[in-house]
């Protein structure tokens, strides 16, 4: 017994001692980058679209840089947990974040304090515009019909796509404001995302869904659902039959995006290395094929261009949040 007690004490002291010693730091001017495994943080669950894109980049980065690259799903809090993990990671370029659309909206909604300025943006890898999607047997043939229906019975048309105040809810709120409607003229039923909303739509429990066309691709291609309009500058390739809301005279664009970022204060040489490597991957045929197979929109903006895009997104969504009366 005495022996085990002594051992216990010894082990504990050993632990204390080891805790006190700081782990050795590798000099990071970027010359030896990468010197350990890389991690891509995905703020959404395994199996979803963002996870699939993250895993594609992990695989390609591993081949390009020769270090094992792992995808870690840090889910929850409407994306806040994963985005925060990316911002607070050690700024040595070994931890990347697959940031999403929510980074542009969640600080405005009071979910998180994070903005794009807490990161060093590397490059945008995807953009999918918001779209209004209905059942194939819906009486509405165009977005004009939908607006007429909303005007005829305010608060009776039911839509979903995310939680109330979530990304796709803001997209449709902005659309309604641009069309001269009140935000409350549509009854938004909260769900956890596009997949459960599509189930509700197919079951006839709601009238329309606001999400990207890619998220409803299998139902659209099999003829169960139909895109009414897409909130983009131009029609989306692969869904050429779906008109833009601009064609109906409504000046509104809502873009969901995905992009890779690293923590602020990552040394410039490392950022440059990562940008160059990632740009090669994002412009490769393999990536184009992958995006096409998944019906994701291919959109690459590197460095400054990506930063400017993020700043513009921020301004756009702040305006919508204020106008819709969503600000806390």
């Amino acid at each position: 017994m005495a022996m085990s007690k002594a051992l216990a004490l010894f082990s504990f002291l050993q632990l204390c001692w080891l805790t006190a010693c700081a782990p050795p730091q590798t000099a990071s001017d970027g010359s030896d980058f990468p010197n350990r495994n890389l991690t891509i943080i995905c703020p959404w669950a395994a199996g979803g679209g963002t996870d699939r894109v993250s895993r594609f980049f992990a695989d390609q980065l591993e081949q390009a840089l020769g270090k094992p690259t792992i995808v870690t799903n840090r889910t929850g809090g409407g994306g806040a947990v994963g985005h925060s993990a990316g911002a607070t990671a050690k700024p040595d370029g070994h931890t990347l974040l697959m940031g999403t659309f929510e980074l542009s909206t969640m600080h405005g909604m009071g979910i998180s304090h994070l903005t794009h300025e807490d990161y060093e943006p590397l490059l945008q890898v995807n953009a999918d515009a918001a779209a209004i999607i209905v059942r194939s047997d819906s009486p509405w043939a165009s977005v004009g019909d939908l607006i007429e229906a909303i005007k005829a019975a305010p608060g009776q048309v039911k839509m979903s796509g995310t939680a109330t105040g979530g990304a796709w809810d803001l997209a449709r709120a902005g659309f309604q404001l641009a069309a001269g409607l009140d935000v409350k003229d549509v009854l938004w039923v909260p769900t956890e995302g596009s997949a459960p909303s599509i189930v509700e739509l197919l079951g006839g429990h709601i009238d329309a869904v606001c999400c990207s066309l890619a998220e409803a691709a299998s139902q659209i291609e099999s003829g169960q659902l139909r895109g009414l309009a897409v909130m983009a500058e131009d029609r989306v390739s692969g869904f050429d039959g779906v008109p833009t809301v601009k064609e109906a005279g409504i000046d509104w664009v809502a873009m969901g995006w995905r992009g890779l970022l690293v923590a602020k204060d990552t040394p410039a040489p490392i950022v440059t290395t990562l940008r160059e490597t990632l740009q090669t991957i994002a412009e490769s045929d393999a990536y184009l094929t992958f995006m096409k197979q998944n019906r994701f929109g291919h959109e690459v903006k590197v460095g400054e261009a990506f930063s400017d895009f993020l700043a513009a997104q921020d301004a756009q969504w702040q305006k919508v949040i204020a106008a819709a009366g969503y600000a806390k």
């Binding site: 022996m3 051992l7 632990l15 204390c16 080891l18 010693c21 109330t164 600000a327």
Partner: protein, 156 residues
């Protein structure tokens, strides 16, 4: 440790005390959950369910207290010392692992714990090395979980 009547009393009421205090705290905190401007008028709101659960815990806890008062439900006394030693060891392990690394902290904890539970120290050490190797192969290689590296800069 079972002799003191005061301790026996405390033990008898600890469950009810736990639920009542938790319930009241939950109600107070739930009432302070901020309201959003855009919440639907038909939505009972984010505070409704937590407040209701807090109320249930309070009432149920009070009922447990009443039972304890009427029957003085007794639980057998514990070797609490062993409990605190183990709990302390685990906390120290979890605190140390991020900086010490998985391999070293685990070898230390397993060697200590197995010896404490009654095996010879060299056997515990062998067992500890085996466990670290197994976890490293399973998690590190097969399941692709990055375990904390720590001071030695070992691959795990």
């Amino acid at each position: 440790m079972s002799g003191s009547p005061l301790l026996d009393k405390l033990r008898a009421y600890s469950l009810s005390g736990f639920f009542v205090s938790l319930g009241i705290t939950a109600i107070i905190l739930a009432l302070r959950i901020p309201k959003t401007g855009f919440q639907s008028e038909y939505d009972p709101g984010p505070a409704a369910v937590p407040a209701l659960m807090g109320l249930s815990l309070t009432l149920g806890g009070l009922y447990q207290g009443l039972l304890a008062w009427r029957h003085s439900e007794t639980t057998s006394p514990l070797h609490l010392k062993a409990f605190w030693i183990l709990a302390g060891g685990l906390v120290a392990y979890a605190v140390a692992m991020p900086s010490v690394g998985f391999a070293l902290s685990t070898v230390t904890l397993v060697t200590w714990m197995a010896t404490w539970l009654g095996s010879r120290w060299w056997m515990s050490l062998l067992f500890a090395l085996g466990i670290v190797l197994l976890v490293q192969i399973l998690f590190g290689q097969l399941f692709k979980v990055p375990l904390p590296q720590g001071v030695l800069g070992l691959p795990f």
